[in-house]
Symmetry: C2
Subunit: 152 residues, 2 copies
């Protein structure tokens, strides 16, 4: 039976390919290496950048699908590198309001370039429409697995 069930393996496998490619591409970026940036830092930078208002670390952890305790170290690195700032939310002093510094925005842009290089390498076998369709489907799947936080 040629059931399409192993597609879960393909996804997991492709995820590893991307992860490896990204890690390898990052090894060439001396500026990131010097700042001590870890792979997960890109996700944090991107999540802060795309968030409507300065997010808290918990919102980040939900938006990234990772444990809050793991976000701490990532933000630590980024703050120490001068890319993000932790400001106490005046409305709720338990939370932080995370913002990107100008240097953080530049770092994010450079990250995007690297990501695009990796994407070209990974998706090179796809033509334009295929790639657009893949993008759309992936976004749909992630959105289905991550109920967006309403106005709360």
């Amino acid at each position: 039976m040629e059931a399409p069930s192993p597609s879960v393996l393909q996804i997991a496998r492709l995820g590893m390919v991307v992860k490896r490619g990204f890690g390898q591409a990052m090894a060439d970026e001396t500026w990131a290496q010097d700042a001590g940036l870890r792979p997960g830092c890109f996700g944090v930078l991107r999540a802060i950048s795309t968030a409507g208002s300065p997010p808290s670390q918990r919102e980040l952890s939900e938006s990234l699908g990772m444990d809050p305790s793991d976000v701490v170290g990532l933000v630590d690195v980024l703050e120490h590198a001068g890319y993000v700032e932790r400001q106490r939310d005046p409305g709720d002093r338990r939370r932080y309001a995370l913002t990107l510094t100008p240097a953080g925005i530049r770092a994010h842009d450079r990250f995007l370039e690297v990501a695009e290089t990796v994407a070209d390498s990974v998706f090179g076998a796809l033509d334009g429409p295929e790639r657009a369709e893949l993008d759309r489907v992936l976004a749909k799947l992630l959105q289905a697995h991550e109920p967006p936080p309403p106005g709360s």
Copy 2:
């Protein structure tokens, strides 16, 4: 920037979702738990099953995109569970010829069921054509990144 490059993040992210979902689904399968099967064992089982002739561990490692040293432990578990057999290749006594036992075939089938359940959970938001197209594109991408052994 023309294309939304962060699709690489989506892939990696979705890979984690699958991995988690699979691990969680496997936690309910007592037979696998009792046999001490690890997540990677499914990939090994599937690789042996889909290989044309009994593969060596090195062929497995290439086909799975993992390090040969990590295949050892996986095959150890599977052999100890009575699912695969290590037979020396008479033509090259350095290699093993890995074969599935009848119990291994049954285990593989049960694995497939679990995988299908996970797939339904992950791809639930997609309709038939979308899912088929995703399958096709993923296979295309993996094939581009892993030239298959022609001697089958």
